[in-house]
């Protein structure tokens, strides 16, 4: 325990605490001083605040690593430059294409993309529905004298209404059911890959690859159980369904900052990497001294020399050049040339 406190990252701890406190303040404000907060959701709220604390802590530790810090700084520097609007437009397009639609996965495998898209869309929609409900930001009321119209209040302000029993009401009340179906189909597709792909079988782990899928299915199935209970069983098993669902969701929230789910937040860095490449190309390309061809941006090569040095690697040569000035092909050729020279000096080309 003492070691845990000793190794705590103070900057990350401060940022995570601010994020958690800010969330609680936003809950108080958004729910109109808890007036619209649903006490039945208190366990979910505690789990969500913990998840926000954990994610903020890990994110902060993560961006303190030299290569991540450099990418983070460069992304911000390039975004908030005189090219702000074109870069913002480009990043927004990529956000829809690569973050919300995850199209880059289709280039790895179309089935995999479909499975992941179902899974991710189900999860993101479920977040969008449950977080505002848990925080008391969205609230539904009936008005006196009218027991057929349901009013949605956003932060305490009326934001829309619908007739009970209407198709819209059916879609809205079953929002999480649709999410569960998407997640379950997606998770099953992803599981099938893990049963049949030889490469995945060789490298997968229980905690990083199987448990996340099992947990997502458990959340979905227990969630569907609640709907099944009030639709077909007259609420007779409500207690059991509600408790098992709460346990799986809270396990997910507590695990969110530590395991595989952290990649949801890391993925945003892909937008920064893209911006880095675009601005780097505009600034100029590096030419490999061996192949005489452009192979990367000058900014990238220069930054890597700095980062490798910061990490304790020194690829500088006696003649003032750097091994990292070479393209990958140039490096392979340099090794082969050195090897041939050593063999010639050894007197035998083949030993």
């Amino acid at each position: 325990m003492y070691r845990l406190f000793k190794t705590l990252n103070k900057v990350a701890l401060l940022k995570a605490t601010i994020a958690a406190v800010l969330t609680i303040i936003l809950v108080l404000i958004g729910s109109r001083n808890l007036q619209n907060f649903d006490p039945a959701l208190i366990a979910y709220l505690i789990g969500t605040v913990f998840a926000i604390f954990g994610v903020a802590y890990r994110y902060s530790v993560w961006i303190q690593r030299p290569p991540t810090r450099l990418y983070w700084r460069r992304s911000m520097q390039f975004l908030f430059s005189k090219y702000f609007f074109p870069y913002l437009w480009r990043s927004t397009k990529l956000f829809f294409k690569n973050i919300l639609a995850q199209r880059f996965i289709a280039h790895r495998s179309r089935t995999r993309w479909f499975g992941h898209f179902m899974l991710a869309t189900g999860c993101l929609l479920a977040f969008a529905i449950t977080i505002p409900l848990t925080f008391g930001w969205i609230h539904f009321v009936l008005k006196p004298g009218d027991d057929t119209t349901y009013y949605a209040l956003l932060f305490g302000f009326e934001a829309g209404s619908f007739q009970l029993g209407s198709p819209l009401a059916f879609i809205a009340f079953h929002g999480l059911v649709w999410c569960s179906v998407l997640v379950t189909i997606g998770a099953i597709i992803m599981m099938k890959r893990r049963f049949t792909d030889g490469g995945l079988i060789a490298t997968q782990t229980l905690e990083n690859d199987w448990l996340p899928l099992i947990l997502l299915i458990a959340i979905s199935v227990t969630g569907l159980g609640i709907s099944y209970d009030y639709t077909f069983l007259e609420g007779k098993t409500y207690q059991f369904m509600a408790v098992t669902h709460a346990i799986t969701v809270i396990l997910f929230l507590v695990w969110l900052p530590f395991g595989k789910f952290f990649h949801i937040y890391q993925r945003l860095a892909q937008l920064g990497a893209n911006l880095y490449k675009t601005e780097g190309t505009r600034r100029g390309m590096a030419v490999c001294p061996h192949t005489q061809k452009e192979f990367a941006t000058e900014t990238h090569v220069k930054d890597l020399k700095y980062v490798t040095k910061e990490l304790g690697f020194n690829y500088e040569k006696a003649n003032g050049t750097n091994h990292l000035d070479l393209s990958p092909e140039g490096k392979r050729s340099a090794l082969a040339v050195a090897h041939l020279k050593a063999r010639k000096e050894g007197g035998k080309l083949f030993g």
Partner: protein, 189 residues
């Protein structure tokens, strides 16, 4: 990692001077299931205008891998056997840091997939006690996977070397390069 039969007695030995540029390893590499059927091995001419010399390059599986150190997404993992695995697909953000920082020029960026891929010593095979695909097909034995005793018997005048100097940086690797007898390290000027 799952249950494995990885044999730590076995090692990889490369002799670039034996490479005849036949590309058999390139074809065989694409059979490796951990690569997703993409060939990860490199065979290229060293300086085509002057010489027909070709070179072959697999991942050297560095003891302290530069690629993993410069990865901003913590996507590159080294296991307990010293095998440096291809990027974790859920984490890799396709930034190319590893591609440009690897001193041996090994990782490849799959542009459209926004993913780095590289040789992972045919982990689907080596973890099951088999040899990597490339080493099983190389006709000139530029690529050899076996025990140290086997290679010493086959190449009595050569020495397996796993220490490389790139400028001021010493890089020690799991994979060996066959050098003249008595050589301790290879200096890349």
């Amino acid at each position: 990692m799952p249950e494995t039969n990885y044999d730590q007695e076995m090692a990889f030995f490369v002799d670039m001077q034996r490479c005849i540029g036949c590309q058999a390893c390139v074809m065989a590499c694409a059979e490796c299931e951990t690569n997703g059927q993409e060939s990860m091995i490199h065979v290229n001419y060293v300086d085509r205008k002057k010489s027909p010399q070709t070179t072959v390059q697999v991942c050297m599986h560095c003891e302290d891998p530069t690629c993993a150190n410069v990865c901003p997404a913590d996507a590159i993992h080294q296991d307990e056997f010293g095998v440096v695995h291809s990027a974790n697909t859920s984490r890799c953000i396709g930034c190319s840091n590893c591609v440009l920082a690897c001193p041996f020029g090994v990782p490849k960026k799959m542009e459209e997939a926004e993913l780095m891929m590289k040789c992972n010593l045919c982990y689907d095979r080596t973890s099951a006690g088999k040899k990597p695909m490339c080493a099983t097909v190389c006709p000139s034995q530029a690529l050899f996977y076996g025990t140290r005793a086997e290679i010493e018997k086959m190449r009595p005048d050569s020495e397996p070397v796993n220490s490389f100097f790139f400028g001021q940086q010493e890089v020690n690797t799991k994979v060996n390069v066959m050098m003249p007898k008595g050589t301790q390290s290879l200096l890349i000027p």
